[in-house]
Symmetry: C2
Subunit: 497 residues, 2 copies
């Protein structure tokens, strides 16, 4: 088999795109900026969705569904919100097509113009808070802890599979609370849920932090974030949780009668993660042979390959192993293709990121063993068939942990403390042998004077942005790398996706 | 508590709407024709979705996701298809908003007009078959068995919660096959899956049939349907499975190289059910006290009410019962509200359709019994606490069966054979005490001459349409009720939702 994918060192963007396409995760569509999520990619997304959904329900949330359409006037209600989203809106203006009078085909019927244009939701705060107005009267109606799984549209000009697409799938939580404190607690709780999910299921280490004013969600008082580091030294914002204050309650006039019989505006949060996480998953673990998936999210965790090809006596043993694995809740497939050679199959299963491969030949049967190959390290060894299920179960756990530890070590190795702007620029200019054309520089920990002006200036000069102010930051006196003004803590800069 | 909902005999439409709103299933939104699915309604939909998804996967299907947008030119490719959907399309024409030059607010940016308009998918055959063109080359790529869970939009003028809304949630299966026979088999297989789901989970009996040419899906060679009968004697089309022949393969030029090395067009099916099923579920079982849910789809199957109010010794027993029920996979809630009276709570839980209610008072504890009330028949009796979990488990099964049998008996009682057009009209004019203003007449089994002309004429005269030609129809010589022309079998007519 010809090498399926480009090496990272050769062309990192092409490597990413090759994995997405060749591992069957997604495909471009004919609609500008929109992608098709293929069955394998969607199966990974389903696993992610199911785990997140369980975590949301365990923290007291319920699901609901709100309209795809947002009346233009709703979007305009909250000033910063519309400012943030107006430039990338898909706008529905008509509700009917007709045959062209000149017979040239189907055209929009000019008679079917909508009185008010409808925006395809880029996010649902406005339509949801308009609804919450009807649902909330008294403190007894609070808190309202609702999540929605939905598609949203943001008309991006430069798109990239999973990471930035015009339409994407996501979940958006929208909660309403009686007090400021309760809403802040909810915001932090969901940031923690996202961090737990990223680290324990995706095996993707994240830094929990708070966004600067300049990087906040349009309409939020504070945005909390989890930030991950990709293999090319660029950061990925993986999930955000917003404390919305009373901004949307005021815009949509949502008040409640408190226990003290006072009329008060409701406090709000919103939080979301999207199919963008799939991009993060790919770029955190995969290698030059293809996709690497953490076992907890892999649709197929184990594949059994008969060597050199299917035979009844191999199938018999494979059946027993499969039954034992399934008993332990492990998903397993037997590769019964008669035509492909084992080497070809090995490459194919590696490309698709199946965490563990068991090879069984006739000589193995005599020796009562199978060959076990792990995808993460490429190590192989022979293991007795007796007790193989317990071995594989432990191995899957080891792989999950190894992927996390490896990614965490990489992240730790690429946080650089700098104290001058020359050092700052030097880190960003560094070249890596493995990434000659695209090394991002990793995270830079540096002092900043706290002004948006300086933040923007640094971005203009270096393309690096402040990813977050880490929640566990230590106080430290210092001077802003750009202006030399006093600063009380370091913040994390990086080039980002 | 004031009576929460209108009686069916008074106003059936209002009864339906009252249940939808008061049981917390859905709400109107400010967007014309779109509804908000509330947490309770969405929880029922999640249960339906999870069962269907399992059934699809067990029959070899995988999920994927295709774009929300369909280029106008794609929709136009299949002539009958565009004819069927052009009149109800939401059309995206622009991709940006801007501040009005005169400061009057936010307006559509005329500079951001799309080169080609995009249609919000009313169904996805066109965008999917355009994609399949890239995925199918040889017989080895077939069959392609893909399902999508998605939102779709059909700009309906007259809408009704769940039954007909501008936006709705559904699943759409789109399969590709090498032979006509395989595609026909798939079409029938999925009709059977729908029938199994409707009868075994929704407890809603359905008639499997085939649509007449006039009622076919736009672009299909044959449409198979499951048809249910609602309590007001009107029919509900509950799911359809389409044999698409080679129509979409030809429109999108999707060919494959057969095992005999011949280039051939691919054969296709598509099939779907939607949130409309929730409307069918409500109207099949509910009564004047509110929602009635079949146990297999109820988000909460059992509620325990302490009488007259929560007390530690009741909670202690309730905890044990709940643990025993949860062990059996039964979902149960303990009503710990201190302020509401038992009578109020009973009415509330009946309104919401919880299948089984357990009442526990202090005297019951002395007698080591609980009061068990079933929602379907309203029967109550005392049952020993010892062995209560097994009793409830059996009771839930009985309720599930009773709901199905009751609905089936109702359906059997309301299929009327007629042989003349006067009889036909008489059935439709019949009044029922329980439905003075809205009795639909049930199914009418009658001979028809097989022409679209007669079918349309009958619809004009009576509002009844041919729901289907039942699959298990017996051959029977007769004369068309309208024209007197010869006919070889009866078909089922009804007024329909």
């Amino acid at each position: 088999m010809a090498k399926a994918i480009t090496n990272r060192s050769e062309n990192y963007s092409q490597w990413y795109l090759d994995i997405v396409k060749r591992a069957g995760l997604a495909d471009h569509s004919k609609v500008k900026g929109c992608m098709v999520i293929k069955p394998t990619g969607f199966a990974v997304w389903e696993n992610m969705r199911d785990q997140l959904d369980r975590m949301f329900k365990e923290t007291g949330h319920v699901n609901a569904y709100f309209p795809l359409f947002i009346p233009k006037s709703f979007l305009s209600r909250e000033a910063e919100h519309v400012e943030g989203f107006a430039k990338e809106c898909a706008v529905v203006t008509h509700h009917r097509l007709m045959n062209a009078p000149d017979g040239s085909g189907v055209v929009v019927d000019p008679e079917a113009k909508l009185e008010e244009e409808l925006i395809i939701r880029p996010t649902s705060e406005t339509i949801i808070w308009d609804t919450y107005k009807d649902w909330i009267n008294s403190y007894r109606d609070l808190p309202l802890l609702i999540n929605q799984w939905a598609n949203v549209v943001r008309w991006e000009m430069r798109t990239r599979m999973f990471l930035r697409t015009a339409e994407f799938l996501w979940q958006e939580g929208h909660t309403a609370h009686a007090t400021r404190q309760e809403a802040v607690e909810e915001t932090l709780r969901m940031q923690q849920v996202y961090a737990d999910f990223a680290e324990n299921y995706m095996a993707m280490p994240v830094i929990k932090g708070i966004k600067t004013a300049n990087e906040r969600f349009a309409g939020a008082d504070e945005t909390y974030t989890i930030e991950a580091l990709m293999q090319d030294g660029k950061a990925l914002q993986a999930g955000t949780s917003h404390f919305l204050g009373q901004n949307f309650a005021k815009a949509f006039n949502v008040k409640f009668l408190s226990e003290e019989n006072q009329e008060e505006y409701v406090w709000a949060t919103s939080w979301g993660v999207s199919t963008r996480l799939l991009g993060g998953l790919i770029m955190t673990h995969s290698d030059d042979d293809g996709l690497v998936l953490p076992p907890k999210l892999a649709p197929t965790q184990v594949v059994i390959v008969p060597i050199p090809k299917p035979a009844p006596e191999i199938a018999e043993v494979a059946d027993k192993i499969m039954a034992a694995l399934k008993d332990k809740g492990i998903t397993v497939k037997y590769d019964r293709d008669e035509k492909k050679r084992p080497g070809f199959k090995f490459a194919e299963h590696e490309l698709k990121g199946i965490p563990v491969r068991l090879g069984i030949g006739k000589r193995d049967l005599e020796k009562k063993q199978v060959e076990v190959a792990r995808r993460d390290t490429k190590e192989k060894n022979f293991v007795p068939i007796e007790g193989i299920a317990a071995y594989v179960e432990q191995l899957l756990e080891d792989i999950q942990n190894n992927l996390f530890n490896r990614a965490k070590q990489f992240r730790e190795d690429h946080i650089t403390k700098v104290d001058t702007f020359d050092e700052f620029k030097a880190v960003l200019k560094e070249k890596k042998e493995e990434h000659p054309e695209s090394w991002g520089g990793g995270f830079i920990s540096a002092h900043w004077d706290g002004t948006t002006e300086t933040e923007i200036k640094i971005k203009e000069l270096t393309k690096a942005t402040i990813r977050c102010i880490p929640l566990d930051n230590e106080a430290e006196e210092g001077q802003c790398v750009l202006t030399g003004k006093p600063s009380t803590q370091r913040v994390l800069f990086a080039k980002a996706y």
